[in-house]
Amino acid sequence: MTFVKTKIELAKLQAGDILEVLLSEGEPLDNVPRNAVDQGYEVLSVEHVEGTTHKVIIKK
């Protein structure tokens, strides 16, 4: 579901815009960057924020 929401937000942006996604580790952390790249977006960074939360920055 995390990637579904990410995809929907990305669809609203213009080319070159940046999206910050806060997500949980485990499946979302594995899936979101990989699927973003598969779909042709650029993953700028993946950082650990705190606890089980991570941040992924994606450029359209």
Partner: protein, 159 residues
Amino acid sequence: MSDTKKLSLIAFSGDFDKLTAVFTLATGAAAVGYEVNIFFTFWGLDAIKKKQGRAFLGANWLTKIFGFMMGGLKSTPTSRFNFCGAGPKIFRYLMRKNNVATLEELVEAAKVLGVNLYACEMAMHVLGLKKEDFIPEVKDVLGVATFLQLSEGGRTMFI
């Protein structure tokens, strides 16, 4: 072996838990580039009705009673542990608490991601429903033959 990224789902069940599975599969697949079709039939038609809540929809008194009993997404029962309606409430609470998308959110996501929604002609006929009774995003009313054509080359699942 299917090679195209296409997924077709037959949504036969009108249960809360099974519809959640249908829309989770549909949105997940659509998000990673699949072409997704959902064919709503029989109890599944309840999920795409425009009128939320119970209403006497139908062509004659028998179908109107069914129209009343099938009150749309908000009143779908769980397939087990329904406890006269407490089941879905408990599951919605658990889903929200665990930050899992609710059925309504999944349906909205499906519409946004361009999932193709179709209604079964035969079931509509029996239940006395018309295309206008459904949400506008329903692409078309079809029968089995057309559905088999459009699901060709992809995977089909019955839920």
